[in-house]
Structure formats: structure tokens, C-alpha cells
């Protein structure tokens, strides 16, 4: 008999093929805190035929907005999103790294003007997608440690 470590969900989102080790960052991105009303399941270090090891996050009764998808794409560019409606996969797609990134990351340069309380959104040009490397349009600093700087 097949053993389910986590049961299927009725409605919500399954984020699959998350780069191993990134599940907790994904939780932070989608804003899972104590006050959520539905179940969130996290699987870490799951065997995967495609990539060896992966993480999975299942969020019940919740679909992600485009900004959240962009953030997930930046820290885990191969993640797949499964939108579940009434136990069926209603939509399935691989996240897509955007060409420019606005307001969802802080600049890794502590001397950058965008880290100084100015009324401006950060903005980056995506110089490479896999692995992601982003150049701040203000100070020109290139950030590769995306997970540390996603807000």
C-alpha cells in the first residue's frame, strides 16, 4: 500500500520542485504566520526523480498573487505551481523569472540609497535567470544571494 506522508488537499496551491533547503524561505515569502486559518504542509528533502532532492509546500485555501510567484521564481527558478480546485489540478505551470524586479527585494549594498528610508521602490534588472543575478538600477550592485534579500 502506498503511504502518503501528506494527504492531498481540496483547494489551494502546491508549490513543488522547490530547490532543496528553500521551503522555509518560501513560507516567509507567502507570509505564513501563526494567524493563518488553514493547513500549511511543508515537506523538506523529498526524493525527486528529476532533481535528486526537493522541497514541497502545500497551502490550503489560498492561491498566490503575481508578486509572490516572482519571489518564488527568484529563489527557486524551477519550482512548479499546482493550483488545486476540488481535489483536481486546475492549473499547473513552472514559475517564470521576470526580466525586471520591482519592490520585492532589498539591495544587498548597505550603502545604496534605497536602504536609507527614501520614498522609492527598489528596482533591479535581471542579468541572469538561472541562477538569478540582479543589478540594482540605482547603485549598480549585482546581488546573487536572492533568498537573503527578498522582502
Amino acid at each position: 500500500m502506498k503511504e502518503f506522508k501528506v494527504t492531498p488537499i481540496r483547494n489551494g496551491t502546491v508549490i513543488d520542485h522547490i530547490q532543496v533547503g528553500m521551503a522555509l524561505k518560501v513560507l516567509r515569502i507567502v507570509g505564513v504566520k501563526e494567524d493563518v486559518n488553514s493547513t500549511v504542509s511543508v515537506l523538506m528533502h523529498v526524493p525527486s526523480k528529476r532533481v535528486g532532492w526537493k522541497d514541497i509546500v502545500k497551502i490550503e485555501d489560498r492561491e498566490l498573487d503575481p508578486k509572490e510567484l516572482d519571489k518564488i521564481a527568484l529563489i527557486s527558478p524551477n519550482a512548479t505551481i499546482n493550483i488545486i480546485r476540488d481535489y483536481n489540478v486546475a492549473e499547473k505551470f513552472v514559475v517564470e523569472v521576470p526580466n525586471s524586479v520591482k519592490g520585492i527585494m532589498r539591495c544587498s549594498n548597505p550603502g545604496c540609497i534605497t536602504n536609507k528610508n527614501e520614498p522609492v521602490e527598489t528596482e533591479f534588472v535581471v542579468e541572469s535567470k538561472k541562477p538569478a543575478s540582479l543589478r540594482c538600477i540605482y547603485c549598480d550592485r549585482v546581488t546573487t544571494d536572492i533568498a537573503e534579500n527578498v522582502v
Binding site: 545604496c112 540609497i113 534605497t114 527614501e118 522609492v120 540605482y138 547603485c139 549598480d140 549585482v142
Partner: protein, 311 residues
């Protein structure tokens, strides 16, 4: 090229094509007699430059003021934020919006990197970057290029040896990229801990130039056409003895110049401390005071272009 500069911001040398830089240098050449006071001009009469210096600066600030005055314009602003609304905690964005309303262009020096790009975002009028932290200082780069072109007739093909603190020195980062854009040959001479950062090397190599790296000056300067010297800052060294050793190795004096090309020029963004001995000032190699003067015609050219006085 006609009209393409009016209203343009001067934030980073990377925003300029080689043709655009050449155009600025051509206009700067025409400005020299006015900059020297031999001719007078009312090209920017009635125009006001807002001059915001959040950090001390002598040459850059005074040469911008001189440039504006020589073209018949006026300057208002501050040379330190103390006593201005900035000291009360006003954001840069708000200060820029205010000064933008009082003036026709803004020149900004600020300790934070990216400050000029942010100012350009909030200002309707052109913003000229006079140095933002360890970031860009494009008008310095243009006056350096102007100095090389004037002395050597062309920029491409010259062997430029860049010496000193290449890690933190902002002038050498943008200058090296611009020189690579013009096809100059580059050698970087610095103590290993202060060599050119990889990120800048990547940009330079992307333009088709493969710079040489060295930690010894003597070998590198023999066939140099231009020696660009920068200050090595004491505070970068935890051990004062180590600083003394490095500073001594990279000091330019008459003995060091024994075997160099006769027409090699020595440049320095100034201020210098001990890296060029005063005895060098009297030689034909010394170009740094002329370089400092060149800040005026080059800034006149940029101001006249962005304010629509020149085409």
C-alpha cells in the same frame, strides 16, 4: 546628435555611448577660451544651477560653479548639509523636489550610492552626478578623457597604467570602463588587496579589452603613455607599517621616471598626499593641474548641452 542632450541626466558614464562622449569632448574644446576668461559668454544667462553637496568637495564644486558663472548662469545651494533642511531629517527625494522647482538643473554629491539616479527619478530637470559614495563620478571621467585626448590627440591605442587604490577608488572604476570603450590598452597596478574588483573587470573585458594586472610599478610604466595615479588611503590598512611599505612602493619621484617615455603624462584626480613627489610637478610629465582645470570646460560643455545652450 542635435538636441539629443537637452534635458538629459548625467548619472553614470555607462549611460553614454562613445559618440556621445566624443561630442561632449568636442564641445568642451570650444569652451576652453571661455573657461580661461579670454572670451565671454552669455549662453546660460538666466539659468540657475542647484548645487547640493552633501559631502565636502573642492575641485568638483568650485569647477561646477566656475563653469556656470563663465556661461553667464548662477548657482545656488549648499556645500554641507549642516544648517539646511537635510539636517532636520528631510529625505533626499523631498530636497530634490524642492530644489528642482528653484533651479534649471541640479548637481549632486552624496555619500550614498545610487543617490544621483534617485534624484534623477524625482527631478524634472537634468541631474548631474558629482559623485555618489563609492559609485559613479561621470564628470570626472569625462574630464580625464578630455585631458588624455588633449595631450595625446586621441584616446584609442594609448597604454594607460592605472595605479593606486583600485578597489575603493571610484574615479578609476568609471575611467577604466570608459577607456576600454575607447579601445585603450590598460594595466592595473595595485597591492593585491586593493586590485580592481572582479565586477569591474568583467565590464571592462566585455568591451573587448583584456587588462594586465601587476603589483609592481617599475616594469609597467616603461611603455606607458599615460600614468594615472590615485591616492592609497591610510585607513584601508589595519597595520600602519603595512601602509608605509605600500605607499613607498608606489611613490612617483624623479628616479622612478628615469626610463619612461619622454611624452608620458602623469594624471591624478587630486588631492594628492605623498604619492607624487613635488619635484615631479616641474617636469613635462605632470598633467594633474591642467587636468584639474579641464574640469571647467568639460562641465561647461555638459551644462550647456543639458540646458540646451549647445547642440
Amino acid at each position: 546628435m542635435s538636441g539629443s542632450f537637452q534635458g538629459m541626466d548625467v548619472v553614470s558614464i555607462r549611460d553614454f555611448s562613445r559618440e556621445q562622449i566624443e561630442h561632449v569632448l568636442k564641445i568642451a574644446e570650444r569652451m576652453v577660451p571661455i573657461a580661461k576668461g579670454e572670451e565671454s559668454s552669455k549662453m546660460l544667462e538666466g539659468k540657475i544651477l542647484g548645487s547640493l553637496f552633501y559631502e565636502p568637495s573642492t575641485r568638483t564644486r568650485l569647477s561646477f560653479e566656475a563653469a556656470m558663472a563663465r556661461l553667464g548662469g548662477r548657482t545656488l545651494g549648499f556645500d554641507e548639509p549642516k544648517g539646511s533642511s537635510v539636517a532636520k531629517g528631510e529625505t533626499l527625494a523631498d530636497t530634490i523636489r524642492m530644489v528642482d522647482a528653484y533651479s534649471d538643473a541640479i548637481v549632486l554629491r552624496h555619500p550614498q550610492e545610487g543617490a544621483a539616479r534617485l534624484a534623477a527619478h524625482f527631478a524634472n530637470n537634468p541631474v548631474l552626478n558629482a559623485g555618489d559614495g563609492a559609485g559613479q563620478h561621470p564628470t570626472q571621467t569625462m574630464l580625464d578623457l578630455f585631458t588624455i585626448k588633449k595631450a595625446k590627440k586621441k584616446i584609442e591605442g594609448n597604454h594607460v597604467v592605472v595605479l593606486g587604490d583600485l578597489k575603493y577608488g571610484r574615479t578609476v572604476h568609471s575611467l577604466s570602463e570608459a577607456l576600454a570603450k575607447f579601445g585603450a590598452e590598460l594595466t592595473f597596478v595595485a597591492p593585491p588587496t586593493l586590485q580592481m574588483p572582479k565586477e569591474h573587470l568583467k565590464h571592462i573585458e566585455a568591451m573587448g579589452t583584456k587588462p594586465k594586472m601587476s603589483s609592481s610599478l617599475e616594469g609597467a610604466i616603461k611603455d606607458a603613455d599615460v600614468l594615472y595615479v590615485t591616492r592609497i588611503q591610510k585607513e584601508r590598512f589595519p597595520d600602519p607599517a603595512e601602509y608605509q611599505k605600500v605607499a613607498g612602493m608606489f611613490r612617483i619621484d624623479l628616479a622612478m621616471l628615469k626610463d619612461v617615455k619622454r611624452d608620458m603624462i602623469i594624471m591624478h584626480p587630486l588631492p594628492r598626499v605623498t604619492e607624487i613627489a613635488p619635484e615631479v610637478d616641474a617636469t613635462e610629465h605632470a598633467m594633474y593641474f591642467e587636468q584639474a582645470f579641464n574640469g571647467v570646460p568639460v562641465r561647461m560643455a555638459l551644462l550647456s548641452l543639458v540646458l540646451g545652450g549647445s547642440k
